[in-house]
Symmetry: C2
């Protein structure tokens, strides 16, 4: 009886290990220089592999980039997914803002990676934006609209409210350099930012 070759070949220990190494290095490089501004050699050096060796795992530069985007996309949406129709509107949204701003603080590189991709017209994840992302946002916007209908939230366009939350929170990761330049020193930056945003947005959200 011939040995059954698995249709989907199992990954070697070395394979998974090196792929992780490469993706970590790629995040480091792509988040700073963007797709076009990064070189395969740069990524290879960052993770200590030779260029041909790196290209053994990902045949094209673009493959690394796409894999990296897919690898981080779902984490990025998790907080919004958690928005619960059964919860208290202001508490749910406060929590969302808080989680979002902390995600930006703890993982600014992923934020900048997406910012770069979208700023350049989302050539790789355009379909994702129009599909899964739009679906999720529409779903959560409906929840918010429901809250507004019940008079538990100020009457605001739900989609634009979500944009406002995205914009304000990600600003601290994406435009980090500008924020630090203007503030002079980054001391206690994120705590103040968080409080200011919660106060500003949540007070703007109270029903009246």
């Amino acid at each position: 009886m011939p040995k059954a070759r698995p249709a989907i070949p199992r990954k070697t220990r070395i394979q998974t290990q090196n792929e992780e190494l490469i993706l970590a290095a790629a995040l480091e490089v792509f988040s700073v220089h963007g797709f076009r501004g990064s070189t395969v050699d740069q990524i290879a050096r960052t993770c200590g592999l030779s260029k041909p060796n790196l290209l053994y795992y990902f045949r094209r530069k673009e493959d690394i980039y796409v894999a990296l985007l897919e690898h981080t996309l779902s984490d990025w949406l998790e907080p919004l997914r958690a928005l619960d129709a059964a919860g208290d509107p202001l508490e749910e949204l406060s929590r969302y803002i808080r989680v979002k701003i902390r995600l930006s603080r703890d993982n600014p590189k992923a934020s900048r990676l997406f910012a770069n991709e979208i700023l350049h017209g989302a050539p790789m994840i355009g379909k994702f934006l129009k599909g899964p992302l739009k679906d999720l946002v529409d779903e959560k916007a409906a929840i918010i609209a429901g809250w507004i209908g019940e008079g538990r939230l100020a009457a605001l366009d739900p989609h634009h409210l979500i944009f406002a939350i995205w914009a304000t929170t990600q600003h601290y990761a994406d435009f980090d350099v500008q924020v630090n330049a203007v503030l002079g020193s980054p001391q206690g930056l994120m705590a103040t930012a968080e409080n200011t945003l919660i106060t500003l947005l949540v007070d703007g959200l109270r029903p009246r």
Copy 2:
């Protein structure tokens, strides 16, 4: 008497004309692909000049980029400069938000140009951010702090308030692709965005 050669040579008609042509094309190209992602040839083709001819006016690619940034920077700050301590706080800030969002709508390319530059660490305009920009923001933050001290505005960190305004308004230019993907169709987009932001932010700003 020898003819006095002007220390600063006057610009030829052709010179000014072509420089404008080049800067317009450069904005077109740089705002989409960023500095590294754009090629001199692309810019040259966009404005109908040959590559060497373009490089006759700007010797290096970087020179075009810097000239373009300087050319648009001051326009970009004008609305903030107009914030008037003598005016009514809520009206002044409403006006600022409105002007800012319209600027993003009417000149998204400039917005994306800056976004790109800052996202990549502001290698060219770092000094500008720490100098003139910081000075202006500090000055206007002081005005806002004054208003808060008089109890005419909610108690918010002025700097972070300004960041929130920047973030929300520029979002529509910088992440244009994502906004359109999520909304489906861009009809009446900006009007709704403007109303939502004014309502959200200004209500969050009311003193209590």
